[in-house]
Amino acid sequence: MNVRDIPGFLDVREEHGETTVVVERERVRDAARHLRDELGFNFLADVVATDYLNWGTKGVSGYIGTASGRDLNLPMTQGLQAQPRPKPWRFSVSYHLLALREGAPRLRLQTLLEDGDPVPSVVSVWPTADWHEREQFDLMGIRFDGHPNLVRILLEDDWEGHPLRKDYPIGGEPVRFSDAE
């Protein structure tokens, strides 16, 4: 399965027994069509966007107490063992593909993008991508060009902001641990 002749090919990684192919952002739909037709990946399992904002910045150790109680959701100890590999771009969108044939070969098609860059939608290649892409638009704010119905799917229609971004506060309330506070 030669991966190098995928349109828009940039890089391939083999980790934990999984192959990850990184392609240019504009050529995602051609790469997807190539993967489905030539290499037989007819099953799209999942579309995931990941936000790498302040990735690898050293966190602080210990809990941070506030007047109104200890907010369990604030960054706790983040002491990193080793500095993780730098990620100069902010978002990565990964398509997890599977070929329904002997040996169940799996592949992760990944594109890297900054905030606001549109990604060509693959709904025409795999119809199941419709809701996956809507969910990533809803929760992460990734715009997919050519998507027939790109509106919010999980949150209310008048919700502002994209909750799964690293700069979006987790919300909820600080937990009061004792009557004294």
């Binding site: 990941t50 919010r152 949150l155 799964l164």
Partner: protein, 422 residues
Amino acid sequence: MSLAERTKIYEGSRIPQRVPTVLDVPPELLSSDDILQVNFGPNHPSTHGVLRLIVDLDGEQVVGLSAVIGYLHTGFEKNMEQKTWWKAITYPERIDYVGYQNNELVFVLAIEKLLALEIPEKATWMRMLLCELNRIHSHLVFLGTSALELGAISMFWYTFREREMVLDLSELVAGQRMHTRYFQAGGLAEDIPRGFYSECRKFVEWMPQALDDYLGLLDRNKIWLERTKGVGLLSADDAIALGQSGPVLRASGVDWDLRRDDPYLSYDKVHFHVPVYHGGDVYDRYRVRMDEMAESVRIIEQCLDKLERMDGKPWIADDRKVVLPPREELHTSMESLIHHFKIVTEGYRVPEGEVYVAIESPRGESGCYVVSDGGPKPWRVHFRAPSFVALEATATCMRDTLVADMIAVVGSLDAVMGDSDR
């Protein structure tokens, strides 16, 4: 294992053209104002949970449908990013709360894949046993509620009687009926209690009889056959294009089961048959799930034979960096005390990397994509939810169905709203 020859369920593809998941009202009907738009909204007895279907009806015929979800969106992924790996294992069970054990397994397998941790054989076999028990539990809940929707009310009481037996077993093992939190990164949280094997044997002997009762009740019941045969058709190509997996895919004639084709745990050392049907309708999905329950009983039996010979074996890995050292060791060795302190306060660190693990949950391929930055907390967790994808197929399956059939089709897709809304 070539794909089974796909009998023609219907010609071409029935996936709607404009938007794959929305069935549009045909243009000629659009002008006539006979079309009645009805909300099968969040609080409806037949939509399992808080699914909302906006349905356009021409008399009894369903001519337009779009599913609206999100009424149970819980922000799992945001919450898991804030917790350490140890605490985060509690969350996945609440995602697909009917197949909870499988969800917990997929997250724990993802952590172990990142850690490249070897788990003892006893833990592997016990995990398989509990996941198969959970598959039976999930199919029982499906059978009970789907038959209840189509009028076979007595099925509900039969299936929930067996469900209580399964919950008694999981309560015996883990102390809690549902959401047992029995899996740890490295094996099991506790050793298997004495007396579990005999109880499980009793269940395994009783279950085939119960399955025959269900078949006797439903399989030759004229009303059930009339309401389920030929309803909600989904061809193999459409099922693959819509990303269906599990019983919905196997009922459309695609012979695909991750437990056999992409084995995890030790499913390759267990003999079981994967039921495949070629009708692609509600009846065949029900048949696939019934046969799967029988197969799960066979798997549990083989797991029990293996486990009974493993008494006294380790049930959790002994990698001190990840697994809590046993209590008595804390009083003697200094390193164990330090490890114990580090794990309990900061949580163990998982090496940097991204991983996607997929298992065969009762609803289909349930995947878990985990990104770790080497810190004690997951950086990004995403669950591939089979119910989320199953609801995409509602528009395709709803072609020329009546209102009553729509309830049968939504029941047969077996979508759990917690799993689809995450």
